[in-house]
Symmetry: C2
Subunit: 414 residues, 2 copies
Amino acid sequence: MKINCAEILCVGTEILIGDIVNTNAAYISKRLAALGVNQYHQGVVGDNPQRLKIFLKEALDRADLVILTGGLGPTYDDLTKETVAEIMGKKMALHQESYERLKEFFVQRNIEMTENNVKQAYMPEECMVLQNDWGTAPGAIIENKEENKAAIILPGPPREMKPMFEKYVVPYIESLSDSVFTSKNVNIFGMGESKVESILIDLMQNSTNPTVAPYAADGEVRLRVTAKTAEKEEGEKLCSEMIEKLMQTEVGKYIYGVDTTVEEALVKKLTEKNKKIAVAESCTGGLVTGKITSVSGSSAVLDGSVVSYANEIKASLLNVEKNVLDTFGAVSEQCALQMADGVRKLMNADIGISITGIAGPTGGTPEKPVGTVYIAVSTEEGSECQMLTLRNNGREYVRNVSAKNVLHLAMNAF
Amino acid sequence: MKINCAEILCVGTEILIGDIVNTNAAYISKRLAALGVNQYHQGVVGDNPQRLKIFLKEALDRADLVILTGGLGPTYDDLTKETVAEIMGKKMALHQESYERLKEFFVQRNIEMTENNVKQAYMPEECMVLQNDWGTAPGAIIENKEENKAAIILPGPPREMKPMFEKYVVPYIESLSDSVFTSKNVNIFGMGESKVESILIDLMQNSTNPTVAPYAADGEVRLRVTAKTAEKEEGEKLCSEMIEKLMQTEVGKYIYGVDTTVEEALVKKLTEKNKKIAVAESCTGGLVTGKITSVSGSSAVLDGSVVSYANEIKASLLNVEKNVLDTFGAVSEQCALQMADGVRKLMNADIGISITGIAGPTGGTPEKPVGTVYIAVSTEEGSECQMLTLRNNGREYVRNVSAKNVLHLAMNAF
């Protein structure tokens, strides 16, 4: 078996009617790209064995490997496994080990195991069964070596699919390849994609191993550095050298991390420098603190935060002067600065950050339209405020972009 | 033209390598389902005109309507428009109105308009051009009435695609249909899907217009009620009657809203009852307040919240007794109750809610493993605490499920 090209085929009517977003395809795509497997097409099909048969056959004609997710449940319309077996020319048989595990699962939970559930222990003959340690439905790798074709079936729930993919599918694909791909995402904030491209154009065009490609993602720019080598170690080395080279360019000072998010980078920097942060949020209403605390280990760098929607809370808890609120309003540089100071002192933190603005859809005025946001940072050494004038692209957009900006402001403040 | 069946074909290498999650497909799928248009398959293809041609032809063979997103940008590899025109047998021509709008766009932003950009004003002849008020690339509807086939091309960025879909595509599809679909999602919390199904099985099987179908979504159960009628009004009436019927069943008391989220339902209820809420968060670190404040109008019902990660903040701001922290620890019923009381008083609110627990991945002990979470609610009348024992499905899972639960606890407290 040799895998040059794969396709993903997600099975589930719930995707076709928009009840769930197909994050499985994105996850597998990203991993396949990192493993150096090409993908030219991916599809979604409902819980309908006739149509699944047609699309699976087409996919197997085009690709060496088809990865299917979903349709492994116990109910009558879960037919992925049976359909794939048929197309791959395999019979279904009870897989004793899976059956024992399934029984054990129900015993442990003190739930009766119905006839339906036994279906989950039937697997295509001569396949590699992928044990499910995160749910009930096992996955499988089914090969047809003569034709250099393989199908992999995985459960639909992401929390079962992802660990199964990492534990079994990644080693399987790696075992079939004689080269390893190493990929690093270089995170850039504060410089636009076209500017980055214009500075790095020669470097990007002349680099073949590793390659360097830019992409815009989530309000910032990323560069993907990808090396193809025989050994992982060599790939890591090539990527590190390229990142070093990028750091030397004009883009360098806008690089804030590699394979990270700004909240992860911030928690890491705070941890390294042994500093604590506190947040005072108005228009983001907890979002900034929510992002910071989504990082494991954040409890060491954040003792607390305040959401102060109302002016009274800005005054009583954060010591914003009544005079400031009356004269300049809550959405003002003066208020943002006092909020940042106030929360730093209240929480006895090293760095205080604040955010106050108009997230919309209502509340805008001609002088302060929706999207007007002040972000500030305060340390013992002093404080700083920035005004953002964001497009009125909806409440969620304004809140998210503001949050991202204040996290970057904090990053650069210590 | 009559549209029974549609397919979505998203164009973009960035989807195939997993850089972005295909939320466009989910959005359009949901809307098509609501409009009564069937979808049996959807696909993704890279920025490659040869492959796009093949997959588009196949899609047009199967479906009456193919909706394409992405690949309308100014760069050389953005070729969706040109490829669709070729397959639909149309020439490309400069669309004067789009050209003028594009020029104006650049003048307003004081950016030079390059040769490349002019490409965005070339459109297939005889198509309906869909003006883009949210970006630069216009969309288009291209019909082949003889063969009852249509292709719709839309920009890739969701903040351009969504409003364009609503403004032009929805009315277009509605104009081709002689019936209207009305769909309502009935939100249920506190009863599992199989239990809901077992209670409503007869009603679901015997209802044809509207139909009633259950689905599990995001930790709760929803029932979709869908009516097909000649007039919208009649559909609304049929749905309302069915929802009324559902309210009379055993499931009724677990229904907390229709077409809503728990945070929207909570803000609505607080607004109606003229009550204010305040949140004290430990393990969710701002997430609960973030959810509440994501609802427009929430500033009328929430003055402020406290994130108290550290015990000192729980003590100093929320008045949790040192004795409680020493004896029972921060993750305890006693602490949760005092946090809820404390934040209610601090913020001068009617309802205080709190959440303290172990989100993981570290911090668990044999007595209090990861996933142990206490949620509490406090009002003037008294207070209440619940312990949650969540599966250790990762930090994000524990935080999200805890947040959802405490919002429901709040819902039922006043």
